[in-house]
Symmetry: C2
């Protein structure tokens, strides 16, 4: 089954562009602008303050949470949208530490996205005590889980290589040692099947501007395992997490639902863009996305290795150990990527030498993959990337 092609028409991708950077910022779903326009003109403009009631703005983060839940194997009422991924990491990590007050180690790995590690550092500095952030190599995590570990905090799919952790196995190992498990699904939600309910992880967080196409700066999500929702303590105890925010009580009493993970006033325009973007996923089965993702990624690897011998595969060859991106290494990767982008093949670069390609079956097909490799091959064969123009650094790379 090729479930992908029909969905390509749901995206607004510029002519001549083959977009292989959906792992960084998903393209614009066509459904988004009209919904955001409506949120501005008839809702904000027409309803003014009444919009909080008449337009459902207050309930929206929970409803969008339920839409997201389906894609990560979570139940309704276990996922809340808001803030940014970094904030959600802080929130989950602080709550996780409270669940293991007698332990002092946060275990993570060097493949984690730096912001997750920075937020852990910031939390430790704020708590100002003897916590230890222990960072090991990704393949050493399992062996490092012992009964000193309070929380194992990992990003499921590595943002550079696409290497994917064994979510079920590592969660089980964490639980065997009495540790809490926190997964960052930034490169997983909408990319690979995730079954939070089955794996029993306590917390998960993620962003929605990558594979979920929510737009630049789209709200993040946090998942709390249902049996813990009524007991986790929110460190970021904002009024919208209060049991009765509009009673304006002086003391904080967390809501008895996933609402306690809310903090401040939700970004209604951005939430509306995300809500519209998620309609693209209606009736999409993540198992079908996965099959197609592997087919396209394997094709991409085979074709690049056949035609571009100077590139070295930097992702796992085994599809079962790989998320939905493929990275190749080349000492001049930066210039090669700039040359690709100039020719409409958009991926991105991560220092020191990685070129990354997001494989997103909702709007990519085999023809796109073959065309992209054809252009890559041409750039390499002709040394086109040596043009000094392609050496110029961008502010954000």
């Amino acid at each position: 089954m090729d479930a992908t092609l029909p969905r390509k028409a749901l995206f607004d991708i510029p002519n001549g562009v083959i977009y292989l950077d959906g792992n960084s910022l998903g393209p614009l779903p066509k459904a988004v602008p009209a919904q955001v326009e409506k949120a501005m003109q008839s809702e904000w403009g027409g309803q003014l303050i009444k919009g909080w009631n008449t337009c459902g703005w207050m309930a929206q983060p929970g409803l969008v949470g339920n839409r997201t839940a389906r894609l990560i194997g979570a139940d309704d009422g276990s996922v809340m949208m808001g803030d940014t991924l970094s904030i959600k990491v802080f929130q989950a990590l602080a709550a996780a530490l409270k669940l293991r007050p007698d332990r002092r180690v946060i275990l993570s790995d060097s493949g984690n996205f730096p912001s997750d590690l920075y937020m852990a550092e910031g939390l430790i500095d704020t708590v100002a005590n003897d916590y230890d952030l222990k960072i090991v190599a990704p393949d050493k995590v399992r062996g490092a889980i012992d009964d000193t570990v309070a929380v194992v905090m990992l990003t499921h799919v590595d943002y550079r290589s696409g290497r994917m952790h064994d979510m079920a196995g590592l969660t089980k190992a964490a639980h065997r040692a009495g540790a809490v498990m926190l997964w960052d699904l930034a490169h997983s939600a909408g990319a690979v099947p995730v079954d939070l309910t089955a794996c029993q992880a306590e917390f998960a967080v993620g962003c929605t501007y990558k594979y979920l196409n929510g737009g630049p700066g789209a709200p993040a999500f946090i998942y709390v395992r249902p049996d813990l929702i009524e007991t986790v303590e929110p460190a970021l105890a904002g009024w919208l997490g209060h049991d009765r925010p509009f009673a304006f009580e002086q003391g904080y009493r967390p809501a008895p639902s996933i609402d306690r993970m809310r903090v401040g006033t939700p970004p209604v325009l951005q939430m509306t863009a995300l809500e519209a973007a998620l309609t693209v996923w209606d009736d999409v089965d993540m198992a079908d996305v996965r099959i197609q993702s592997i087919t396209l990624a394997d094709l991409f690897i085979r074709e690049v290795e056949a035609h571009c011998p100077t590139l070295r595969l930097a992702s796992p060859r085994n599809a079962a150990e790989r998320g939905s991106q493929v990275s190749f290494a080349h000492p001049d990767g930066y210039a090669i990527m700039q040359a690709l982008i100039a020719r409409g093949v958009i991926g991105d670069f991560r220092a020191p030498d990685l070129i990354r390609f997001g494989i997103t079956p909702l709007y990519l097909d085999k023809d796109d993959i073959l065309a992209a490799v054809g252009i890559l091959r041409q750039i390499l064969d002709s040394d086109a990337w040596k043009d000094p123009e392609y050496q110029k650094k961008q502010a954000v790379t």
Copy 2:
């Protein structure tokens, strides 16, 4: 001078509406939809991931911060936009406590917005030590400032009564006692003149969806006194506050600028709406806004007291002690406000008995004030508010 009327045309206010709730959610500036449309279609849609470079998305929070700075008496480079006000309170408070490591009291007042107090509670619970959140009556703050106080955290203008603190005097008192001063300017930015540079407060935070008309869930701001920017420690140590976010270093090193108060990926659509909304303030002098605000508020009080004797003024009568809102108390305030809203006069209600009216000279004039009082008088004289329809509670009030 009546600087107000020319600006009314810059807002999209529905026909028949007199909008007196700009202290809760400002109306839609006409400049907003086209800019957000552009950010969606030509920027996100057309530029895709390149937008971070080609459309200036990364620099936008700082540039919008500078636009906001002018309205609160702050220098360029001292204000950063992002997240929500609750998050910014947490960030400022955590940084403030670090500046006084030998002290254990956070002093606030019962007039503070609950979320500020909740965030302080959450921070204390997270730090898990012997901090004390001391809450006194607003008029007892000055007397409660002593050398045990690490931080004085106050909202400048009370969200219920509009009572305004003496910012310069209280900041001086805090500093005399060796405490750090943190002001919440939610009901001040764009409402009353604020001079952060002159008052020398260390931190200020605020939201932009009230008097600044940034839209529902618009990004918040944080101010750090310029001499402290390079030393304050960010508790929320997100990657965009890093000195070199795109170097993806494993350890956190804060940027040597107000950028260190950034956390995660900025909400580009929402930031664009705010940026467009702030153009309304071009060439507006807050001193002129203040003069007109007092004229309109004094007129409103005079007229209500002359024609609606069952309402009791719940705001300071002295304009110098009042922000830019007027509240009246009535045991049936809720129903009265619903009757007003049904007739196009939009204010809001705060339990147990307050009806609130925001005075926003950018889009209100004397005729609006007189017309609003006329409708209020008619509702009271005719007992129209006793209609059972107006007793029904809304989810968000």
